[in-house]
Subunit: 341 residues, 2 copies
Amino acid sequence: MTASPARHATILDVAAAAGVSKSTVSNVIRGVVGVSPDTRTRVQEVIDQLGYRPNVLARQLVQQRTTTLGVVVGDMGNPFYAEMAKHIEREAAGRGYRAMFCNTQGENEAELSGLESLMEYRAAGVLFLSQPADRERARSIVSGRAPAVFVTCAGDWGDTVSADDDAGAELATEHLVRLGHRRIAYFADPIVEDSADHDRQTGYHRVMDRAGLAPTIFHWQRQPGELLRQKRDEQVAEILRTRVTAVFSSNDYGAIELLECADRLGVKVPDDLSVVGFDDVVMAGLARINLTTVRQPQAELAGIAVEILDARVNGVLDGAHQRRTLDVELVLRGSTASPQP
Amino acid sequence: MTASPARHATILDVAAAAGVSKSTVSNVIRGVVGVSPDTRTRVQEVIDQLGYRPNVLARQLVQQRTTTLGVVVGDMGNPFYAEMAKHIEREAAGRGYRAMFCNTQGENEAELSGLESLMEYRAAGVLFLSQPADRERARSIVSGRAPAVFVTCAGDWGDTVSADDDAGAELATEHLVRLGHRRIAYFADPIVEDSADHDRQTGYHRVMDRAGLAPTIFHWQRQPGELLRQKRDEQVAEILRTRVTAVFSSNDYGAIELLECADRLGVKVPDDLSVVGFDDVVMAGLARINLTTVRQPQAELAGIAVEILDARVNGVLDGAHQRRTLDVELVLRGSTASPQP
DNA sequence: CTGTCATTTTGGATCGTTCCAGCCGCGCCT
DNA sequence: AGGCGCGGCTGGAACGATCCAAAATGACAG
């Protein structure tokens, strides 16, 4: 069997075979009223027999709108984004959209060309799962052409759906303070340097302030896309030398890498070091990871984000940018304890 | 600022503004030779100024081919698939394709409607990351319309790119046998019940046979899409009651869940139970998981899969289905040891 | 000044749909 | 018998690009 390209059947093929006009076939596939049951079944039979599938490109071209949702994600290898991508795909499909993902891997280049590509596909809307690196260029590519929703990251243009990062950070930091920690560091992950990160820092700072403690901020240093294990060990070792007893990481992925370094360096968690994450990815709940963390309601975030985008696309929602904030919850697990005397 | 839909500029807008015909603009954006440098720069300036982006739908409609690759994936929440999805997205983008993902979550319905949708989008090719549940219907939807490549799972129609599952299973099982295990079970994950699984079972059986040992096969029982923790604990407890001392799981995700159950049940790994996985996802390498496993060359799998699909799409590769098998490697970590006497 | 040829530019057909205005035929009312 | 209304169906004009054959332009030789 040679793989013959086998031209797809068109609406005209169906029309000819059924002995009706293309308009009638169009009416049948779109399920409009005003087609006699007789004709309807006849056309449907031909459609099934020919395996006819309407060409979405032609349809969208004439309708001047698509059902494609662009999704920009920083790192699909990060479980949080993978899980969010899954939820978004499901929500989008549920509302009749198809999601087109652009994994940027923190590279500016990939992000911009991905966005341009999405615009070329006339994506009905764009969902940012991680903050655009070059926000100005990103804005100029998308703005005015498609509505944008920023999920889990803040964008100055477009709607925003995020967890209450500030409150979550407060919960996390307060938890550490209450356990008796005084040297509590904040860890930021540069790849996902969203302004979720910003709000989390704010919450962290406020609590530290209130408790009269000195804040310490650390940034992972890594090449985009790659994790350099040894370098990280050095970084962490250096940080521990500052006698920090607890760390609040801006996300679970970072927290888990931190645990990893700690294990390798022989630092006991939670005895020598307490660690709190943010996200509550599936992995964090594993007995072996057992990470105390702040849970983001992933499914709800995805649901509301797609809902808002859908409303914008259909012109139902109009006017000022929405800003939805969802409640978070501290999940106590085994990576935190009172500091050793 | 009201969110005005702001019609996209068309090629005619550019042509009018630049004082040339649409054909000339078309020639400029396609970079064909035979446009005077003078005109070219003038047109380019207008393009930049108007922020014009060609409409891919119109282009693909007239060209009768798209640059969309459909990717069917069983469970994006499974880190192996998430990682593969990432690699595939990157490879596709590198060759000028856009990947469209369909997460089926093991649901037949989602899979078939996803495939139909991909065909409506006239996807140039389809990449299966997990075996279609209803292979006959899947085949009838895709076959003859777009080339298919099965990655990491076997399909009877289309090309196949996979790791050497059989050899990998042999390596894993032999490793356990050599450690002195006699009661070695095989664990199959129903969601990703690909025929990768089949080949892995084959390898397992062969080694067990050769060693004169009785094989035992277990299947996780779970609803598609959800993991029912307690039920799993029961299942695992029951299995351990059969005095199995080692388990070879058809994939890392299953192996990690197994570790999880063992931890909860107070079963010590590797002292009371040895566990080997398959895939070598990033997580498996974490010190706290430390899973002995068979490494699949993910990036190479993705690269070759997209390469073959590209060749099929362009008609460069013709004729019989390819079947590429990549070498695997046993990664020794801490989840395996000789059985306690 | 004209003919030839190479280089640029152009108009129109085309892709497969949707959608709208209009047409056809039939039954009913007057 | 003629007019009207209506359900069912149809043809043609979009949509925004590509691509080809043909036209325009310009250079240059005779």
